[in-house]
Symmetry: C2
Subunit: 407 residues, 2 copies
């Protein structure tokens, strides 16, 4: 009997009617002859409500106890879904993180899954039960409750699917699947039927919110086939899976755009070993997540270093850079959030030449200046002025003909 | 170092300000040189809100999953209290039922405590931590979450105090302690400084809500000294403890009154063996909790059986009795909720004669007719018309001079 793990997010279980709707979908999957494990998030808004409660006590609440608090959100949902399925005549049983157990490290608030128990759930499935797992939560080695951070329920679902060696993991969300680009930017955006883990990983790290990066990493590492689909219709969705020969035909699979970053330039820095290390250690110590880093080649023993940070970290980062400027005797610090990062992603880039040139040409033809460039094996990102973001996405989507159905 | 278990109910932790107030009291106890374990209930109204949510799905929700749902109430409170204490600079750590573990049988919704783990909490206390325990919840042998039923947090507190061999268990509530009778009925009601477990047990079973019956049973069985006191002031409270010679001086310690029962009479029943068994088995099967049972002696081979049930069960019980009447060929069934049960309780009754006579005389002098009488070794209960309830309580309180301070 195929074993299917389904995951429903907070919007899908936002009230009792929606929970009833999820129960129907779960029951249908069971009736089709599958063994079913369901992973659910907290009801929409609940996690934020609990965080707010804790922060009214203490702006930086004890992290371990905050996780105890937050874990109640998913506990409510699993119980309500189990009660609903039982009232429909199905045998259902809820599992909290510690009952599986879903073991993690002790990084409260952003724990990483280390192991997933198999025996208990498999025994319940064998007895015909639908198993309902609380997403987002686990336990560390000392049996303290942990949570997995933003998108944690996706990670829970993939981790449980890997642990149980499920045949597939279905992530139900409020969109139909993974698109070639944001459909709000261009109506030509097309749903991708099949995408490789590596591409999905790049898209997630570039800000596509459809699937969280840790979940994709976990799926890739454990070769879990993941389907992203809508909880509001029966459309097919997008399969995230291993790279496959027929995926290589085209060079570019998707265009993404992130307008939530800011750019900082530290100019006239002495060009000697260890300078970059000093700068980025200080930012790291302040928990600033630096994304792109560009250092220009230097002629006069001085260099300019530019990098991007989340928009929300701009003020903090500028203050740190002022400090660095004074310490290192640099010339100036400038910062701006008037930027957008536009990226193209595709496995095919590895074998196709001229992809980068085509991207730069396309942007140039639209009169868009490129301020920073960063590349990986299967991705090229360009930082441009924010006002050109949508134009750039549409132009690149057209240039690489992403509206054409393939595969 | 003395080990104190404190328990705070739902009203005492009803919002963040009240939780801050509890944290101050807990911290003061710790600062006085005690090891402190705090047991807390869900925030006032939360358990009812969760029950309502479940019942909107199913009038009789799956009992195991309902317990998973309800257990979140206390989980929220322990986390918030721990966060508060940590923000005040104390080391605090929350414990859920499964983390202690507090083992129970599998009677979901009304589980009985079977064992309380000691090692983990003692280790935390030894390291100077304040331990915060989620009341009302435990785990059965298969690691399913259970809840202990109404007043369950009192039971949790006493069970934890017993398990840890605490020096005392303080139950903080919205009243000052245990009174000789309800102060709303007579201003002469006096706070009792010390009361025996047996007396408290009778009072709890007679409807005094200050301490729940299972908690008292547990305290008596394990000889845990319990102090009932107010969470809103520093008054001394009432010590519930072992029987002690100086308690025996007076015959009666308290008067209670319960107006939430109803009386049913099944008349003209054949007086033969097994009839009572049939009647009360059927009521028991329907989950009706029968209190007093009176069977008149019979002359003509027929008898009348009267008994009391909770007012809320009157309709259901009457329907069952109609059924019984037809099956057994009884003559009539009558029911009334126009009754009150007035009781006097006191260890001294065992050695003092004439207590019952004095009670009956007192009621007679007020012109109050007694409809049913039931006695135990340390208690006499009389059922009277409801309108006389307060008059009877005041008269008995005066007659036994309960307003005079002793002990």
């Amino acid at each position: 009997m195929p074993l299917v793990v389904q995951k429903y997010g907070g919007t899908s279980v936002g009230d009792l009617d929606r929970i009833a709707n999820v129960a129907k979908k779960v029951a249908a999957c069971k009736d089709q002859g599958n063994e079913v494990v369901v992973v659910v998030s907290a009801m929409a808004g609940e996690t934020d409500r609990l965080i707010d409660l804790a922060k009214r006590i203490d702006a930086t609440p004890n992290e371990s106890e905050l996780d105890v608090l937050l874990a109640t959100g998913e506990q409510v949902t699993v119980a309500l879904l189990a009660i609903t399925l039982e009232s429909m005549g199905y045998k259902a049983k809820s599992y909290l993180g510690w009952q599986i157990p879903l073991r993690t490290d002790s990084a409260f608030g952003a724990a990483r899954v280390t192991d997933v128990g198999r025996e208990a759930i498999m025994a319940d499935l064998a007895e015909g039960r639908i198993v309902i797992v609380a997403g987002f939560q686990g336990v560390d080695e000392t049996d303290r409750i942990t949570t997995l951070g933003r998108g944690g329920s996706d990670t829970s679902a993939v981790a449980v699917a890997a642990g149980l060696k499920a045949d597939r993991c279905e992530i139900f969300t409020d969109v139909d699947g993974v698109y070639t680009t944001d459909p709000n930017i261009t109506s030509k955006a097309r749903k991708i039927h099949k995408i490789a883990y590596e591409e999905m990983l790049e898209m997630a790290s570039l800000g596509a919110k459809v699937l969280y990066i840790r979940a994709v990493e976990f799926a890739m590492r454990h070769q879990v086939p993941v389907v992203v689909r809508s909880s509001f219709n029966d459309n097919e969705g997008t399969l995230v899976t291993e790279e496959h020969p027929d995926m290589e035909k085209e060079s570019v699979s998707a265009v993404t755009c992130n307008t939530k970053e800011a750019k900082i330039t530290l100019s006239g820095v002495a060009d000697r070993p260890g300078i970059a290390s000093q700068i980025f250690s200080m930012l790291s110590d302040a928990n600033v997540v630096v994304d792109m880093i560009i250092q220009n080649s230097s002629a006069d023993g001085k260099t300019d270093i530019s990098f991007t940070v989340p928009e929300a970290s701009l003020e903090k980062s500028l203050a740190i850079c002022e400090d660095i400027k004074n310490k290192l005797g640099a010339e100036a610090v400038t910062g701006s959030n008037d930027i957008a990062k536009v990226s193209i992603i595709g496995l095919g880039m590895r074998s196709h030449t001229g992809v980068a040139a085509k991207m730069f040409t396309t942007l140039a033809e639209e009169g868009i200046n490129i301020e920073m460039i960063s590349t990986s094996e299967i991705k090229i990102s360009c930082v441009i002025r924010k006002k050109y973001a949508e134009l750039a996405v549409r132009a690149l989507h057209d240039a690489f003909e992403l509206d054409k159905v393939r595969r």
